[in-house]
């Protein structure tokens, strides 16, 4: 008996019951761009980069259950243009300066923006005031680049069992907060070995004293496209 399938841009993609479109597509070697989705965590659905057309209707591929016969459009001109706009929104919302960022070349946001052909911000910048937190001996927090994917919140809660992070505020003022009386990372029990310390897809959570150990030009996405299997999300 043949496996159940849906189609992705006309190609058959097999799935097992319980798969989302993104899970099945990724396993089959396809690339549906995404930022807040990670194979070790439940779907989140906040970045919306993985928005696809399912039987004509827009939906986040990370949240839609795969089912037999669905016709999914992924890399169309319209959808990729929309992804580029969403990426531009994330860039102008924070303060991103790729040339001087330690995460450059290892950054999922940057790599995805290259992949989608983003060449400029398009919208006016917000230039928010987001002071860095350098209070921890081993870890630096530069909130300027936060895209609110909540991967650190989820990793700290579900894997480290520490709940170091949470999301606060609302609307354009939504922001990441640290759990301590002072609100500073130095007053938490966060360790460099925590899963939360390594999962940030952008350059918010950075290990100290390791800057530019690997030169720009030889990094993860300098070597391989983000669309390659095994390169589609942060480690």
């Amino acid at each position: 008996m043949s496996e159940p399938c849906f189609t992705l841009d006309g190609e058959d993609v097999p799935f097992v019951p319980g798969d989302t479109l993104l899970q099945a597509a990724r396993r089959a070697g396809h690339y549906i761009p995404h930022l807040c989705w990670h194979p070790d965590f439940r779907a989140h659905g906040s970045c919306r980069i993985c928005t696809v057309r399912v039987n004509g209707r827009m939906a986040a591929a990370c949240a839609v259950q795969a089912s037999e016969g669905l016709a999914v459009e992924n890399h169309t001109e319209e959808l990729d243009a929309q992804r580029k706009t969403l990426l531009q929104m994330l860039f102008i919302e924070g303060n991103h300066f790729c040339p001087s960022c330690e995460k450059s070349g290892n950054c999922l946001l940057q790599a995805t923006a290259y992949q989608m052909g983003m060449e400029g911000p398009h919208f006016e910048e917000f230039y928010p005031d987001r002071p860095v937190d350098a209070s921890h001996p081993d870890i630096l927090l530069d909130f300027n680049r936060c895209i609110l994917c909540e991967l650190c919140v989820r990793a700290s809660h579900e894997i480290d069992g520490k709940n170091v992070f949470a999301i606060a505020g609302h609307g354009i003022g939504t922001h990441l907060v640290v759990n301590s009386d002072s609100g500073q990372l130095g007053d938490t029990d966060m360790a460099l070995t925590d899963r939360a310390a390594g999962i940030c897809p952008v350059g918010v959570i950075l290990p100290k004293r390791r800057g530019f150990v690997i030169p720009i030009g030889e990094r993860r996405y300098d070597q391989d496209s983000v669309a390659e299997p095994g390169r589609q999300e942060a480690s």
């Binding site: 994330l90 709940n163 606060a168 609302h170 609307g171 354009i172 003022g173 907060v177």
Partner: protein, 585 residues
């Protein structure tokens, strides 16, 4: 008196009660609460900072919030707020240094038929503001006169029922509808609901009978009935009146739903703006318990146990969306959930949950008494029964108008005494904006659907300013979870403000179109998807209103280059022609 168990699901309620005692929420208090509930301080901070009515910084002992719906503005609210700020020597949004008073604006308070309105300390409402009232309020606040000695007339809230049909005009004695439903039995009651073809009155229009049946059939032993009394859509105030005049019927509808789906637990999610309804509603609940209409063995039916609690919101429009409402009921940030699972499968605490609007429960009670066929005979084939409209804006008789579905827009305008009408916003900012050539269209899911708001604008109004007010509303109320809504609503506001300041060009209008298209398909929930509706409608139908705000048909920067040099001119003490940018005409 504390009403809620010290449990993490009650966090929003506990924060609200703590704030009522302390005036604001100091960080040590959040830390104590976190320890007690087994949460982290950051988690509690995350919840407290989500809701607009919680204050993590000190606010004045007198906390004044002006309702900022467009209908309040049409009635002069902006000038009145400026007057109060001037008299009290306080800036909007800031606390006066003596800690006595702060004045700010808030989203629609649901009093559009008797505005401009304001809230004091989230507890009291003053309606029908005018310059005299504002002057007197300033004096009373300065002299710290307790609100109990303020003129009672100020706090009067009218029902303004102008046209009653079934829901507003045919009273049912407490217990009568429930007895009819129980006599039928759950299966037959569900059958009546399906025959009635009643569709939910909260806006989405899902068939209520089907929703109840799905909830009844869902796996799980404990089921929950939730009444959505969030009524956050600007311009809507029908649920306020139903809860004031017909609370028994609302609770009875919930109890009928409980009997039909097999629920023991009922929750009312009452918006924070309606705090003043809390005590009367609790009294009604107690009366119903005393009359064996709630509690154990209801109306003598062994095994039918059901009771209702009231949760109060804390200022968050997005919580009208049923899955964020459930998150809020569980004491969390009101972020909409990924669906599936749907609330009827896994809702409150993972239990099968049916969430229905206040008006829907009233209709269900009437259907229990008179049957599904009777209801289905009213209205149109796909939109059965009657619908209550909250009429406000430029008309002689604002208030509630109940009509069968299928009623012409023009008929409502005639009845409410609207003259020289330019546009009607039906269903609130997330609904549709209709211009004069469409007044022959009808209110129905088949044509013009509505959650209840009906805001009238005459030809003296600037429809661009209407759309700009709505844009600010959505940006203020975005939960901030998903990229297109969080950033998109903020970008729309920037563009609209740029146009309002006279810096706009056609390029800006094009960008607005682009944002509308993106947000329609890409957002996590309906808030972002509908946030640009008024924008799209007004650009399409009232284009001249936009073009009046354009400086050129080509690109314009958001700032005035020459004005930016004023600081440099001041420092250098120059103001000669050479110190100005050449402006090519």
């Amino acid at each position: 008196m504390l009403h809620f168990p010290r449990h993490r699901n009650s966090l929003v309620q506990l924060l609200r009660e703590a704030q009522e005692q302390h005036g604001w929420l100091p960080r040590p208090l959040l830390a104590d609460l976190a320890r007690e509930l087994g949460l982290t301080l950051a988690q509690v901070e995350g919840v407290a900072s989500f809701y607009r009515f919680f204050h993590l910084q000190p606010v004045g002992r007198w906390r004044v919030l002006f309702s900022d719906n467009i209908t309040d503005r049409l009635l002069g609210s902006e000038a009145l707020m400026a007057q109060l700020c001037e008299r009290l020597r306080v800036k909007p949004g800031e606390m006066r240094t003596d800690g006595r008073v702060s004045v700010a604006a808030t989203s629609c308070t649901g009093l559009c038929d008797q505005g401009p309105a304001l809230l004091i300390n989230h507890q009291l409402v003053i309606t029908r503001l005018d310059a005299q009232r504002v002057a007197r309020i300033a004096e009373l606040i300065e002299s710290d006169t307790p609100a109990s000695s303020w003129p009672a007339e100020w706090f009067r809230i009218d029902d303004n029922v102008r046209r009653a049909d079934v829901l507003l005009g045919q009273p049912i004695a407490a217990g009568q509808a429930l007895a009819a439903a129980l006599a039928r039995g759950p299966a037959a009651m569900l059958e009546e609901m399906k025959r009635s073809n009643l569709r939910g009155r909260g806006g989405a229009g899902f068939t209520t009978g089907t929703k109840w049946a799905l909830c009844r059939e869902a796996a799980g032993s404990e089921r929950v009935v939730v009444c959505n009394a969030d009524e956050g859509e600007p311009g809507t105030f029908k649920d306020r009146v139903l809860l004031s005049r017909h609370a028994d019927l609302v609770f009875e509808g919930m109890t009928i739903a409980a009997a039909a789906i097999g629920a023991k637990q009922g929750l009312v999610y009452l918006r924070g703006e309606y705090r003043y309804l809390l005590e009367p509603l609790r009294e009604t609940l107690q009366r119903r318990r005393d009359a064996h209409l709630l509690g154990t063995a209801i109306q003598g039916h062994d095994g039918f146990d059901f009771d209702i609690d009231i949760h109060l919101g804390a200022g968050a429009y997005v919580c009208g969306e049923e899955s964020s409402l459930i998150e809020s009921l569980e004491g969390k940030r009101g972020t909409p959930r990924i669906r599936p699972p749907f609330p009827v499968q896994q809702g409150y605490m993972g239990r099968p949950t049916t969430v229905n609007n206040v008006e829907t429960f009233c209709a269900a009670a009437h259907i229990a008494v008179q049957g599904g066929d009777w209801w289905a005979a009213i209205g149109t084939p796909k939109s059965t029964g009657t619908k209550i409209h909250s009429v406000s804006g430029d008309c002689e008789r604002p208030g509630l108008y109940e009509y069968p579905f299928g009623t012409r827009i023009g008929r409502i305008l005639e009845d409410c005494g609207a003259r020289d009408t330019q546009a009607v916003q039906v269903g609130g900012p997330s609904g549709v904006c209709l211009s004069a050539f469409e007044f022959g269209r009808r209110i129905a899911f088949e044509d013009v659907p509505t959650a209840g708001a009906f805001m009238v604008f005459d030809r003296s109004r600037d429809m661009f300013e209407v759309a700009r007010n709505f844009a600010h509303f959505f940006a203020h109320e975005s939960c901030g979870f998903c990229t297109p809504c969080r950033v998109g609503t903020a970008l729309v506001v920037k563009r609209m403000d740029k146009l309002a300041q006279g810096h706009g060009s056609r390029h800006d209008v094009d960008v607005l179109y682009e944002l509308d298209k993106l947000m329609h398909g890409a957002t996590h929930c309906g808030l972002g998807a509908t946030a640009c509706n008024p924008l799209r409608d007004t650009i399409a139908k009232f284009r001249p209103a936009y073009e009046r705000h354009l400086k050129s048909l080509y690109f314009e920067p958001a700032f005035d280059l020459d004005a930016e040099l004023s600081v440099a001119r001041q420092i250098t003490g120059r103001d000669d022609p050479a110190s100005h940018l050449e402006t090519a005409e």
